[in-house]
């Protein structure tokens, strides 16, 4: 278990992380969200023991990071932002080096490397220098390095940044396939990633925690959660009737052909009655669906509120 207690990091006058409190339990896959410069990377650097905090404490499985750094570093696998590696080494040399630092020897080492190469599919580039690899492969080498010792805690700073959709999918699958009793913390600014792989979302803005809950709860924060969106064929008709329907609190025009009908909280779903209304009015519609919530919206309102 990771306990972050009142963590503060200042760079001169600038406060990068401002009194962060967080507990992460085994099994949590945390999506760590926030705008650029919110303090995500700084927090991760402190968690992995790279940066010392200005004040506050990080306790992992009962050990304080500042007092037992090596013991804790052994438990952590870390992919730093940009997946840095030793560019002049080949992939195989690099993984050998990491495995040795992680204390593996002989057969065990070979097996570890083989497993991890299979897992992130590096077979084709094993003997190529890392500097000659594409961004996607570099990122995968970084991932391989982070999971080679099967860590209890995996910290990934923007693991899918710069990858193409196929590669993103692969990385997400990899994270989901890690065993269930691990702690995974992923920083990202791709919101779909959180709903796709995480079971917990933490949003920080200006170094402060502004949201902590499940991705579902995050969606429920959206104005559009449970809203019914209608796409009309052609321009929208006169929709004044809709406004009068029971339970409807607001209608938002999304674009020329699309509106979202927002209902009162007490209404579980407006869908059936709006469906009836559409039939009654004889509107030609292309599509009509229940919204789960617009994450960008929630993200924006949570993070700009804080900054303002």
């Amino acid at each position: 278990m990771i306990q972050i207690k009142n963590l503060i990091k200042r760079f001169g006058d600038f406060v990068a992380v401002d009194g962060l409190q967080l507990e992460v339990k085994p099994g949590d896959i945390v999506g760590f969200l926030g705008p650029n410069g919110a303090g995500k990377s700084t927090t991760m650097k402190m968690l992995t023991g790279f940066l010392p905090p200005t004040s506050g404490e990080i306790v992992i499985d009962g050990d304080t990071l500042s007092k037992a750094p090596l013991k804790i570093k052994r438990k952590i696998g870390y992919l730093p932002e940009g997946a840095p590696a030793y560019a002049d080494m080949t992939v195989l040399q690099f993984l050998h080096f990491i495995a040795q630092v992680r204390g593996f020897k002989g057969k065990d080492k070979k097996q570890r490397i083989k497993d991890v190469v299979d897992k992130v599919e590096l077979q084709d580039v094993l003997n190529r220098p890392i500097e000659n690899l594409s961004k996607g492969f570099k990122r995968r080498v970084g991932l391989a390095q982070a999971i080679i010792h099967d860590p209890l805690i995996l910290i990934l700073d923007e693991p899918t940044d710069g990858l193409d959709p196929n590669q993103k999918h692969q990385v997400r699958k990899l994270i989901q396939n890690l065993s269930k009793d691990k702690i995974v913390i992923i920083s990202t600014h791709i919101l779909e990633e959180v709903t796709a792989v995480c079971n917990r979302a933490v949003i920080i803005a200006s170094g402060k925690k502004v949201f902590d809950g499940t991705p579902k709860e995050l969606q429920e924060n959206s104005k559009f959660h449970n809203a019914v969106t209608i796409e009309f064929e052609g321009d929208k008709p006169d929709i004044s009737q809709l406004k009068l329907a029971p339970g409807v609190t607001d209608i938002v025009e999304r674009d020329q052909h699309t509106i979202s009908v927002i209902g009162h909280e007490s209404y579980e779903s407006l869908f059936p009655q709006i469906m009836d209304l559409v039939h009654l009015q004889g509107w030609h519609i292309k599509a009509m669906y229940n919204e789960v919530g617009q994450l960008d919206d929630v993200f924006r309102s949570l993070t700009t509120e804080e900054a303002a």
Partner: protein, 242 residues
């Protein structure tokens, strides 16, 4: 763990042309200095004094070039973040890196053995003196190198690291020469003068290279290396994330 870091660094020197270029330049220049400027043949003496006289000046530019990459590159490429979050201590990393470069320097020095063969062919040199001088040369290289690693930790920019190292090493070489000592004479008390002189890489190296293998000189170089590596350690520890 020092061993693992050492191995990685050492093989990285040979994975890139750095080690080869260094060794080639070192051998070529040491040959040029010894035979052309040092007049090895014309002197009519079977010893390697010409070679060892020029060695500090050769090291003054070649060792900084070798050391400038050590930490600056780690910080520039961001791999320092990887290194420092692995289960190793900063001290292990500093020592491992240093030993790897020092061994390459030692290797280059060993490869000057044709010089030794030459003087042995031409006459009967005092091989004990030559051995002491080689040891002194390696210690001198280590002291330069420790300065270089420290300066490399100071800056992300390898060129700046190079220049700083040359300047600092130059000061340490010069501090024992008559130029500096004469300039200071009269201004400062003799205690300060002696202190300045005692810091000189040159005086300690010259003593060893003449075959006087005294403990003081050896301790001097060991302490220098230790001091600069400690400074390097502190800089890496506090500046790694800048």
């Amino acid at each position: 763990m020092v061993g693992v870091i050492f191995k990685r660094e050492f093989s990285s020197f040979f994975a890139t042309p750095v080690a080869y270029v260094f060794i080639f330049m070192f051998l070529m220049l040491s040959g040029v200095f010894t035979f052309f400027f040092g007049n090895l043949f014309e002197r009519g003496q079977a010893d390697l004094q010409p070679f060892f006289n020029f060695l500090p000046w050769l090291y003054l530019f070649l060792v900084p070039a070798m050391a400038m990459k050590s930490w600056a590159e780690e910080r520039k490429s961001g791999s320092i973040e990887l290194l420092m979050t692995l289960p190793i201590t900063t001290g292990q990393a500093v020592v491992g890196k240093f030993l790897a470069s020092w061994l390459v320097l030692g290797l280059a020095l060993l490869l000057t053995f044709p010089l030794w063969l030459t003087v042995n062919y031409l006459g009967q040199p005092d091989n004990g003196t030559i051995l002491a001088a080689y040891l002194g040369g390696w210690l001198l290289a280590g002291a330069f190198l420790a300065v270089g690693h420290c300066m490399s930790a100071l800056s992300k920019n390898q060129i700046i690291a190079f220049i700083l190292t040359v300047v600092v090493c130059f000061a340490f070489v010069l501090s024992g020469t008559p130029i500096v000592l004469n300039a200071l004479k009269g201004f400062v008390p003799s205690l300060v003068l002696d202190t300045v002189a005692s810091f000189s890489f040159m005086l300690h190296f010259e003593a060893i290279s003449k075959g006087v293998l005294s403990l003081t000189d050896i301790v001097y170089f060991v302490v220098s290396m230790f001091a600069w590596l400690t400074a390097c350690f502190l800089i890496v520890e506090y500046k790694k994330a800048d």
